[in-house]
Each structure stands twice: as C-alpha cells, then as structure tokens.
C-alpha cells in the first residue's frame, strides 16, 4: 500500500507548488513586502478595527532599537497590562498604564508627562493587542512620538534582560 513511485518527480512538483505560492504571495502583498524590505513594516495589529486610517498609526520598535533609545533618549516605557502583571514583573523604569483603566488615569498621566516625550508601549508580546490599542489612544490624546514594542514583556524577559518586581504592600 505504501507507494513511493516517481518520488523524484513528485518532489519536483512540490517545489513548483511552493515557488508558485511564493510568487503569488509576494505579488499579492507587494506594498507590505516593500515596507518590510525598507525596514518599516506595519505593526502586527494595524489591521484591527481599532486602527485609525492615515498617519495616526503608531510605529513598531524592535528590541535592539528599544535598548538604544532607552540609553540615548528620554524614552518613557509604558506597561499596558493589568496592574497585577505589572507588579509581578515589568521593564525597568516602565510606568503602569493599563488599557482598561485609561479613561480614569489619562488626565493625571497628561499632567505628569508632556506631549513631546517619546513613548514606547508594551504588553504581553506579539499575541497581545493592548499595547497597540493604548498607543492609538495616546496618539489621539495628543502624544506625538508613540511607538509599540511588540515583543513586549516575554521577549524582554526571555532575552535575559533585567526585570523589576514590585514588593508586596
């Protein structure tokens, strides 16, 4: 019952299917491919219904650029996760601003942080849309330089970088 006849031909046809798929995939997503090759891909949640049109979309920042920005500028890290997770461990210097408490906490936040301060927002990694949604809200609130660190807390922790834990009260 196990039929391996013409295996070489079958493998060749597999390669042809893959090549066809690559050509179709790249041509169907030409704009995205160009953005990626130029080093400015869209954030992975930019196609959500919450995303506004036009230039009001936050830019992504990867781990290496994030570390450079932390050292060289006044970049403020913002943790979009719930406060329990923030307390359990967060990036050094990060400020907690949970997405579901944004309405009540935004006025105080705006008084403390000027609108031209560069911000980088993270949550629980690539599967988590909260950092993007929070970035959209902060852009709408008048902050000019808002980036999303999509790797988030898991990538930072798994890279062996320092994590700050709040002591229990």
């Amino acid at each position: 019952m196990h039929d391996y006849s013409n295996l070489r031909r079958v493998l060749l046809e597999v390669l042809v299917i893959v090549a066809l798929g690559v050509v179709m995939g790249l041509s169907a997503n030409l704009k995205l491919v160009f953005q990626v090759l130029q080093g400015s891909p869209p954030t992975t949640h930019s196609s959500d219904a919450t995303a506004p049109a036009g230039d009001n979309t936050p830019r992504p920042i990867d781990l290496a650029s994030l570390r450079r920005s932390i050292e060289n500028s006044s970049l403020l890290l913002i943790d979009a996760r719930i406060s329990e997770l923030y307390a359990a461990g967060h990036l050094p210097g990060a400020v907690s601003l949970p997405l579901d408490e944004i309405e009540s906490r935004l006025p105080a936040f705006r008084q403390r942080i000027p609108g031209d301060r560069p911000l980088a927002i993270y949550c629980n990694g690539y599967g988590c849309p909260d950092s993007f949604d929070l970035a959209v809200k902060l852009l709408a609130a008048g902050y000019q330089d808002v980036q999303v660190y999509e790797g988030g807390f898991p990538e930072w922790r798994d890279a062996g970088l320092p994590v700050v834990t709040e002591k229990a009260p």
Partner: protein
C-alpha cells in the same frame, strides 16, 4: 474492501484539501496579523515573519485547490504533510521553551492548548498519508501523478 479504500482516499483528499484551502484563505485576508502569530514563536528574524506570512497562505491555497480538484494529488498531499510536520516542530519548540503563545492580557491563566493543536496536526498527517499513498490505486497510470 477496495471500495472502502476508495471512499477513504476521496474522503481524505477532499477533507485535507478543504481544510488547507480554508486555512490559507483565512490567513491571506489578514497577512499582518498572521505575521504577528508567527513572530510569537520567536523562530525567525523580524522581516522573515512578514515574508513567510505573505507566502504561506498562497502555498496552502494552491495545495488545497489541487487536492479538491484531484490534480497533482501526490505532490499536494506530500506538501501538506511536510507543512504539518513543520507546524508540529514549531509547536513543540514553543512548548519546550515555555513561550507565551497566547495573549494573557486580561487573565494570565488563559492559554491556548498546545495538545489540542498537536492533535489537530496529527489528524492532518493521517489525511495526507492516505491521500498520498492511495492515489495510484484509483487512477489510470496515465493520470497517476
């Protein structure tokens, strides 16, 4: 017995083709979100997540259509099997590294079950196996590719 195998072959081929066509179609609708899903596995450099997300749905669509239409069934089934093996490898590596594949935004306990995904992939492998190996029994040699 022979007719039973015939049903098994066509059933496997049509189900496998339908699943791959469906999966490819869904992912082709939102390539950027799919890139985010791939990135969560932390297996590829940043840009490659996007390129793979752009191409993989179309490879799945082509393989699915070939299986459904009964043309080039053996290469299409082999490709589906190989892709499934890659998915299994990625899942296992994510599981061994203890990665947070799920969101965990609101409840830290919410996890997608890796066991469930592995079981589904095992089913795909079985379908690909029957499609590949039973193909030449029910077709004339001339069209037996």
């Amino acid at each position: 017995m022979n007719s039973l195998l015939k049903y098994l072959y066509h059933g496997s081929r049509l189900l496998l083709g339908g699943l791959f066509l469906f999966a490819g179609f869904i992912k082709a609708q939102d390539v950027v979100a799919f890139a985010g899903n791939i990135a969560a596995y932390q297996l590829l450099p940043y840009q490659f997540n996007y390129l793979l997300a752009a191409c993989l749905p179309y490879i799945e669509i082509i393989a699915g259509v070939l299986l459904l239409t009964g043309r080039r069934v053996r290469p299409a089934a082999l490709l589906c099997g190989l892709l499934t093996l890659v998915f299994i490898g990625a899942l296992l590596s994510a599981w061994m590294r203890g990665l947070d594949i799920s969101c965990g935004c609101f409840s830290p306990e919410a996890k997608t079950s890796i066991g469930e995904a592995l079981l589904r992939d095992l089913g795909l492998l079985i379908l690909a196996h029957f499609s590949f190996h039973l193909r030449n029994r029910f077709t004339t040699p001339r069209a037996s590719r």
